[in-house]
């Protein structure tokens, strides 16, 4: 089941935003704002290219949570997410003139994000460990802890333990397998979108998804345990 909350939408950048609520007819600015809210990502990027910063702000609102969450899931430490997240959105604004319209915006933005994360890893520069309260990123204290997430996800102790083990094991997967799982599972991106972002062919991405999940599946009780029937 897929949640339809705005938080979920923000974490799944491939989904389209819900239509804006009807507004009273007020000054032209309100009409313009509501029209902007209904515009596609690609339209907003075109407006950004023409100097419309409100359009870019709206794109930022739609994608900030997804980009920051992707960075946290790939980098594993929330301290670096702040700095790299700023860099991503600044670069996207700076290089808006080079956005290859009418290409889908999501893979373009996630390509910038991915490259920024890789560059950070190459620089081997890590932000100092800080208290959650100091960070300008919210919710990390709740969702950064696998046992808290597992406890919220299920009341069944066995499932809870499985969820926790699998989330912890994500960091131990090879980078390419973890990336496919993060992009495909956590961010709902298609294999075609992942092809654009990573440069790897869809067949290779499917193989990484299969083998990555196979490694995680071993934590469910071992290869010799009787398999459980998946629920619809």
């Amino acid at each position: 089941m897929k949640a339809e909350s705005s938080a979920s939408r923000a974490a799944s950048p491939g989904a389209r935003p819900a239509p804006a609520r009807p507004v009273d007819v007020g000054p032209p600015e309100d009409l313009q704002a509501s029209a902007l809210g209904k515009a596609s990502d690609e339209d907003l990027m075109r407006r950004t290219q023409q100097g419309d910063r409100r359009a870019y702000s709206l794109l930022y609102e739609r994608y900030s949570n997804g980009v920051l969450s992707y960075l946290y899931r790939m980098l594993g430490n929330v301290e670096d997410v702040e700095a790299i997240g700023q860099e991503v959105f600044l670069r996207a604004f700076r290089f808006a003139p080079t956005y290859p319209s009418p290409q889908n915006f999501t893979p373009w933005l996630f390509t910038i994000t991915r490259k920024s994360a890789i560059n950070n890893a190459r620089r081997k520069k890590r932000s100092p460990v800080r208290n959650f309260a100091e960070l300008k990123i919210e919710n990390a204290d709740q969702t950064g802890n696998p046992s808290k997430v597992a406890a919220d996800a299920s009341a069944d102790p066995e499932k809870r333990e499985q969820i926790e083990r699998m989330l912890k094991a994500l960091d131990d997967l090879p980078n390419d397998q973890r990336e496919v799982i993060v992009l495909g599972v956590f961010h709902d991106l298609s294999y075609a979108q992942m092809e654009e972002i990573t440069g790897a062919k869809a067949v290779t991405l499917r193989s990484r998804m299969f083998h990555g999940l196979k490694k995680l599946a071993r934590l469910l009780g071992g290869a010799d345990d009787p398999p459980k029937e998946p629920k619809p």
Binding site: M1, K2, A7, A11, R53, Y60, S64, L68, S69, Y72, R73, V81, G85, Q86, F89, L90, F93, R94, N131, A133, K136, I137, E138, N139, A140, T143, G144, P146, V149, A150, A153, K159, Q162, I163, M166, L167, L170, I181, G184, V185, S190, Y191, K201, A202, V203, R206, S207, M209, F210, L213, K214, L216, A217, L220, A223, P227, E229, P230, K231, P232
Partner: protein
């Protein structure tokens, strides 16, 4: 298995579609139906396990889901406004990078020249006066032989405390790792010379208990959290007093056997430099490593290091001094 199998083999393609899309999607439903009717087999059993694993991941999908706080957004928008203004100036980002790089190289060369000329009269060469005589103006004072008012100091940590003959752990059998103390509500002037002095009475040296005086820029200390890594502290354990900076014990210590029963534990800071002393005798001197643009706080606390006694040591007074 060859990568191409994941698109050539219909079941594998369906399975990897289902694994990506997850529970509730059409490909998931189709994959489950196909596997359910396919009977037994090693590969098929493995595929079913993969679907179960995918279900668990779906349940944990909020893992590391974060959002930008207002501070993050504000900082970004300011950067974007600046970026847009630069664009209007007609100077391209690449040109700006070249200009900034040239300036940076020039500054670096000047800095090297300054540092290799020992007779240059720089501020760094002048000793920083951290003495009690220099930082002697009382700013705040708390008598710890009685419970201070809530507006003056608040309790931190879970350790039970008493104020009978000074602040001390109360009760017996305090679990190792338990910490507790008090934190002054009034913040310290972090950008000015400041000293924190605590009167510590050591009736009976106790190696199971650590008594600490500390200054911190961490605002999260509370009734459930008495410890932080962002601090400079004096730690007295048994007969030994040491300095601790950001959770690490620094070189240097003082033996309290020759001291009176009551000692003054002092931390002083000026211009990013600090000293930690017992009765005016320095234990350690170095850089303070607390953020000067945030308020600092002072406090005292106890930490039960090992099982056993919690008695023998108490704080009688805590003072803050300025210049």
């Amino acid at each position: 298995m060859n990568d191409t199998a994941y698109e050539a083999d219909e079941l594998l393609k369906l399975l990897t579609d289902a694994l990506r899309a997850g529970p509730g999607s059409p490909s998931w439903h189709e994959a489950v139906t196909r596997l359910r009717s396919a009977g037994a087999g090693k590969d098929l059993d493995e595929y079913r396990l993969l679907l179960t694993a995918r279900e668990r991941l779906e349940q944990g999908k909020q893992y590391r889901s974060v959002r930008a706080g207002p501070g993050f957004t504000r900082e970004l928008m300011e950067s974007i406004d600046a970026e847009a203004a630069r664009g209007r100036c007609g100077i391209s980002p690449a040109r700006w990078i070249a200009i900034v790089a040239s300036v940076a190289i020039g500054v670096a060369i000047i800095a090297i020249i300054i540092n290799v000329m020992p007779k240059m009269n720089t501020r760094a060469n002048q000793p920083v006066d951290l003495s009690a005589a220099a930082i002697a103006r009382p700013i705040a004072s708390v008598d710890l032989t009685a419970r201070p008012a809530d507006a003056v100091a608040r309790g931190i940590g879970a350790m039970p405390l008493a104020f009978d003959r000074g602040l001390a752990p109360a009760g017996r059998d305090i679990a190792p790792g338990t910490a507790g103390g008090i934190l002054l509500e009034q913040p310290l002037p972090a950008d000015k010379p400041v000293a924190v002095e605590a009167t510590l009475r050591v009736r009976r040296p106790n190696p199971q208990l650590i008594a600490q005086v500390f200054i911190t820029d961490d605002p999260t200390l509370s009734s459930s959290n008495a410890v932080t890594l962002d601090e400079l502290a004096i730690a007295v354990q048994g007969i030994t007093a040491r300095a601790m900076r950001n959770g690490r014990i620094e070189d240097g210590q003082i033996d309290l056997r020759d001291s009176a029963q009551t000692v003054i534990a002092r931390i002083a800071s000026r211009d990013g430099q600090a000293v930690v002393e017992i009765d005016g005798k320095p234990i350690w001197r170095g850089s303070v490593r607390l953020k000067p643009d945030r308020p600092w706080f002072a406090g005292v606390r106890f930490l039960q290091a090992e099982p056993g006694e919690s008695a023998g040591v108490s704080f009688e007074q805590l003072r803050v001094m300025g210049e």
